[in-house]
Amino acid sequence: MKGWKEVPRGGMIIEKGSAEEYETGSWRTFRPRWHEDRCIQCLRCWIYCPDSAIMLKDGKVIGMDYVHCKGCGICAHECPAKEKAITMEEETDGQE
């Protein structure tokens, strides 16, 4: 590990995008479960997710990034589908 002469001043992080290297998935108490059959692909979950943990492919939701998802539940709260396409489950249940 770097000594005090080498680390950036005052705790600054001087490179961008370093959050990707920080695994925050272990913080979850609840995990979001995505139900593909109910999803209307509005992408609101993708817009609202504070951790960029909604995974897209070709502009469509394909699942959740459980390495970074902290389980805040904003995606489930914002989901406008008549039957919610994202539901929160206790982390001990539904391990995948």
Binding site: K2, W4, V7, R9, G11, K16, S18
Partner: protein, 402 residues
Amino acid sequence: MATKTKAKPKKRKKVAGVRTAMNGNDSVAEAFRQIDPDVVAAYPITPQTELMHKFAGFVSNGEVTTKFVLVESEHSAMSCVIGASCGGCRCVTATSANGLALMWEMVYIAASLRCPIVMGVVNRALSGPINIHCDHSDSMGARDSGWIQLYSENCQEAYDNTIQAVRIAETPDVLLPVMVTLDGFILSHTTEVLEILPDEAVQEFIGEYAPDYYLLNPDHPITVGPLDLPDYYFEHKRQQVEAMEAAPAAITDVAADFEKLTGRGYGFIERYRLDDAKVAVVVLGSTAGTAKAVVDMLREEGKPVGMIKLRVFRPFPVEEILDALSGLDALAVFDRSASFGAMGGPVYLEILAALRGKELPVVNCIYGLGGRDIGPGLIRPVFEDLLAGKTDPRVRYVGVRE
């Protein structure tokens, strides 16, 4: 960010100032006007209120380009200038006593994030019972917060220290915030004659603030203030120690350049009639003026007395102090604050630590709490006791009713 000046020239000529009359608050506000900071945030508290009142007038009249942020507390004031400083702005603020106490958390963070903020601290007793008058309990409490501290004897020094503080703070290997203190009411509300530099001379002297890393730089995004756990926190504190150790060179260089500009020299300490003195006192702030008058009085009577004024309390100038004390037989250290449960006041403890292993008897005079007046009549007996070899009790309360 917004900076308005050219790089400072290598050769400097003395510039004619304008002699005028101002009180301490106005003199610091005038320095702030000439500095023309990018961002100022402040909250009113006696006796500082008039300082920012005056500065707000400069903002309203368009005499500065500063963004002045009105906040709901001192905690917010310090938070705001920290945010702006991290954003790349030159920032100043001011406060007193309870206001400084309310910003406490952020005072430490300003130093830890290495924000070169300049703050006027108009010294006032830190309650209670509630008191609005001068003592040093506010800024002395902040002595371990990581800020550089400059104490001012008079309005001229408050003005001069404020201008020098900008360059000291922004020195690349320092990057620490600076408190410029002035005694509440005794200086803040007392009109004195002082010399004000031309605006362009101040701008040229302080130069352009060019931070290496700042938040509002889209070409180089950074993160400021992330969680710092046991794996790195200690390294960042060690850096802060190093920054404080780099401060003396910056303080010396800036003072030398300032002297070329103004003819007014500044050191870490001021020695007053000390050369052949056998006994002396150490004082901070406006009390130095009174102590000088007492020294003059006693010198006329042939007594070998002198005075040491501490201008810089953080970083503490150990070498300069030891050098100044080397020929003395006895010393009295004046503290305008108490450190309850300690062996004496904070300045006394610092001097004792500097003198470790040396034989010099040192007494501590705690005085002036809550604005209690300190006149020549109270200082003279302290010298007389020292001259008579009376160094007990070690800690005395000068001016209190028994």
